[in-house]
Symmetry: C2
Subunit: 283 residues, 2 copies
């Protein structure tokens, strides 16, 4: 079946009225294999797969890349058609925000840490637009990538705390052969920066190895890793070992862990993370 491209809410709602089940993949477009992986996962969960493409002004800070964020609708639609998506919802800013959005979703306190510390208001904007999109699409299932780990955590909280009747399914981070996590922002990198960018995932793997070998001074490991990247020209926002259940700094008793990092190559901010289960007993 052909992909339906629908830019307005009324048409989308009318089209979805007869859908027996809906899986939803919200995106900002410039789709890569990470998004397509989510679309394919979505097809396993519902008969109608809806993908939204909307570069949401609310989640960009004043000095961020809203204007330059890559917009590639034609290529995106080709990829979605090939992946078997049924509908792509492509609202304008006016369609999503016909009046000033004075009401927001206040995210949980964890939104002020990690990426939220460097991007104040970012997760307010994410939670607000995702709630709006959920109410427009009314899916039974929604899919998010694990690369945006903190975002995934906050969306799960949104669903839990606001009693949304939606199952959230997480897709594994898709990577280049080099290990570099796929991201629309990788397109900003020069070839030299892109080569160096591989080091972010390697550093996270080194941290996991260190923890698994029995090192448990997480603060020291974080500081050393951060210093290592800084010496190589990175600007490090954070490297942090956290509890996967709470996203709070990991304690000695936590075994389900995630190590997360955000660091810049030039003006390009990259993020990545690895979930892991600590394989030794606490000392």
């Amino acid at each position: 079946m052909a992909l339906d491209i629908i830019p307005d809410i009324a048409t989308l709602r009318a089209r979805l009225k007869t859908a027996p089940s809906i899986a939803f993949v919200p995106t900002m477009g410039n789709l890569h294999a990470g998004h397509i992986h989510l679309v394919k996962l979505a097809k396993q969960h519902a008969q109608c797969v809806v993908v939204s493409i909307f570069v949401n002004p609310l989640q960009f800070g004043a000095n961020e890349d809203l204007a330059s964020y890559p917009r590639t609708l034609a290529e995106d639609c080709e990829k979605l058609q090939a992946a078997g998506a049924d509908i792509v919802f492509t609202p304008s800013v006016t369609e999503m925000y016909p009046t000033v959005q004075t009401m927001r979703v206040t995210p949980p306190p964890i939104a002020n840490e990690l990426c939220g510390a460097a991007r104040p208001g970012h997760f307010d904007g994410v939670a607000t637009v995702v709630l709006k999109l959920f109410n427009i699409v009314q899916p039974q299932v929604a899919l998010f990538g694990k690369k945006d780990y903190q975002q995934l955590f906050i969306i799960r909280e949104l669903v839990h705390q606001f009693n949304l009747p939606i199952d959230i399914i997480a897709g594994d981070t898709q990577r280049e052969d080099s290990g570099l996590a796929l991201s629309s922002r990788n397109g900003y990198l020069s070839s030299a920066q892109k080569l160096e960018a591989q080091r972010l995932y390697r550093t996270l793997n080194m941290i996991v190895d260190n923890v698994q070998k029995g090192h448990h001074d997480y603060v020291a490991i974080e500081a050393q890793s951060s210093q290592y990247l800084t010496q190589l020209g990175w600007i490090v926002d954070y490297i942090s070992i956290r509890s996967a259940a709470t996203l709070l700094p990991a304690s000695a008793t936590d075994t389900e862990l995630v190590v997360l990092a955000a660091a810049r190559q030039g003006n390009t901010r990259l993020i990545d993370n690895i979930e892991f289960t600590r394989s030794f007993a606490s000392t």
Copy 2:
């Protein structure tokens, strides 16, 4: 049909899965003819009428009447059965808030004026619980009374700004023969206070008459009315002539108006309002 009393979300969702259409009346219980009027309106709009009874801690301030708020479940259920409601949803605080509600809905700026000025955080709590209840019940139609005019305004904004697929229907304020607006809080009044309480609606009617006679210095009218009630022993929170469309202070060009008041008899806070169309041209 008998009224179903359902205290938990899972049972309610299962029961509503087969409902062809749902109208929803959220309440805090202690039902009076104002609530019953909404239930009867609801029956005109859907085949299944759900009423919730939940005294929501989130919308009470620290020094307010959460503990003493009247809880009269048995009588409420009798009234709902007689009025033809199908389901009453009676969740516990733990059912609605199984974990700390760290995420909130930020209401629009108007939430800081009128009742919001005297009750900081009140409309955050209202908007948050109403959004949760909407997501639990998933009605096509929801009904609110005009007595809580600012609340009704904020709920309409909630639906608009978060793209909720719900029609909001307003029920007219129900009154005693004396004109006193029905309210669960009227039960707090002594008989002398209740007699005096009638004056609130009479005062609002006097204000409407004054405006219709051509007086257009709204600030002066508000001040005079407030002084009048204060001299008679009331503690006046506000008396305000506003645009019905925006709830902002009415300007000379506004013709669709509402006059709202909140004032206390002893410890009991009463609110009331009158919508009206200004019947003379601006001078």
